[in-house]
Symmetry: C2
Subunit: 287 residues, 2 copies
């Protein structure tokens, strides 16, 4: 099972990278500095988890992923924008990202702010230019992507709540709300976008979105557990599961969320196997 999901990631990653390669202006396109910065961060070795979830959602209904690749690429662009802006000195002030200098360390703060802005902008241009989907469906997809990034339970809400939580003692509901907004909203919307544009009916799409929320939360708890057990840059994290609930209860939550997520998509039959394998794979990271 782990081999299969790794093979799936190994197929999706180069396909998404090719698509991103075509969508991002080349480094020589003027003004070249901003395009260098955008490409530096987009091609910094990301795992492409969110695009893979989008492709897997689409894959329930279609064997050829080609039509959804621009959408998967737009998702990776907005994910990269969020990392660039999160790393800024005024935000989390991270000098390193995936072992390399963060965007503002490499290109300066002004360029990093603009590179994030540009990736967010290009993502919406890409969504609007997607060929092959019903225009009304594409508009709804674009609106949902924007919502998942916004201030009402979206990614920006999560970032604001996380910054506000610094130094405070939080209750479970608060930690969960921060995680759901900061990581869960885009993650669940990624798989939903693939399924919805693939033609899922409302009921299936709703279950797939719920699956995404469960694994999104599980993913974040796993990240917290890894921060704790591997001694990663913990001092900057503000609201973590292990610090509030302890390590073992956190691991149990991951197991339960993963089970619930799989149960939500099992009724879809064989075509949902990739989603189940991804959920199981994400769980094993912290076992």
């Amino acid at each position: 099972m782990k081999t299969e999901v790794l093979a799936f990631f190994d197929r999706v990653r180069p396909a998404v990278d090719d698509s991103l390669e075509g969508l991002l202006p080349s480094e020589s396109t003027p003004p070249s500095q901003i395009h260098r910065a955008m490409r530096y961060s987009v091609f910094a070795g990301g795992k492409r988890l969110r695009p893979a979830l989008c492709v897997a959602g689409f894959g329930i209904f279609h064997s050829d992923p080609a039509p959804i690749l621009p959408v998967a690429s737009a998702i990776e662009m907005v994910h990269t924008y969020s990392l660039i802006h999160d790393d800024l000195p005024a935000m989390d002030d991270d000098d390193l990202r995936r072992g390399k200098p963060s965007c503002h360390k490499q290109f300066g703060e002004a360029t990093a702010i603009l590179a994030g802005d540009a990736l967010l902008t290009l993502a919406f241009e890409t969504m609007s230019n997607c060929a092959g989907f019903n225009p009304a469906a594409l508009l709804r997809a674009s609106a949902e992507l924007a919502r998942s990034l916004g201030t009402r339970n979206g990614m920006i809400a999560g970032q604001v709540l996380d910054l506000e939580a610094e130094g405070q003692t939080l209750r479970q509901a608060q930690v969960e709300a921060i995680h759901a907004a900061k990581t869960g909203a885009l993650l669940s919307t990624s798989v939903w976008l693939g399924a919805y544009l693939g033609g899922a009916n409302e009921s299936d799409a709703r279950n797939i979105l719920a699956y995404g929320r469960k694994i999104g939360l599980a993913f974040q708890i796993v990240d917290d557990v890894l921060d704790e057990t591997e001694g990663r840059d913990r001092e900057r994290r503000k609201a973590t599961y292990p610090s509030v609930f302890g390590l073992d209860p956190s691991r149990r939550m991951v197991r339960q969320l993963t089970e619930e997520a799989c149960q939500l998509v099992q009724p879809l039959g064989a075509s949902s196997s990739t989603l189940i394998e991804i959920a199981a794979f994400l769980e094993t990271r912290c076992l």
Copy 2:
């Protein structure tokens, strides 16, 4: 003529403000800090020139502006996002905006970055949720808005070029390219969006876009002239017309651009009178 255009602005401004009022989350919506910051900058006393151009473009074809107001509001959101990010310490480092503390001075840098991000995001959500337009047309409108903000001759390109130009001696073509990208792209796209979604045929829409480019450039030269003659914060401006061409030649360029702009829309007949009045009004600012 000046009275008429002032009356037009006086009608559009409250209509756009009402629309923005309904689109922006209230200050009490959590997380309230980010919504306070967004509203602080959006309702800081802007003249709503870009929304007015959008409404005027739509007004060539329809007497009721109601359907275009969400689009006009999205335009004002992206304009405000650009001001917030331009004012940041890493960019132009402006403490004041329209006589009040700039967003980062009032709310801190992290919130200002996120408020800009949130306004850009909400603008695209708003575009995608516009009711009453053909979905395919709305997708194209959204793509063109994104393009006008992007790195290929859009607003971000202009900002990058402007930052790079600091301390350099520029040729006319370079100054013009910076202005066309930094101010002209969104200004011309604003009037184009109104006309295109109003139902303009391709040829009329092209002329209206060209009109927008001319008055966009004229608008920027007027701004440069006012900076020079009124001794406004000139030291921060990098590439200005008067510094390259002198004051009187700059004024002559404004006059010529305005004439050319008016000639482009005159064939549209009586319905284009508002566009002609706006062009003439913008010109008078520097006479």
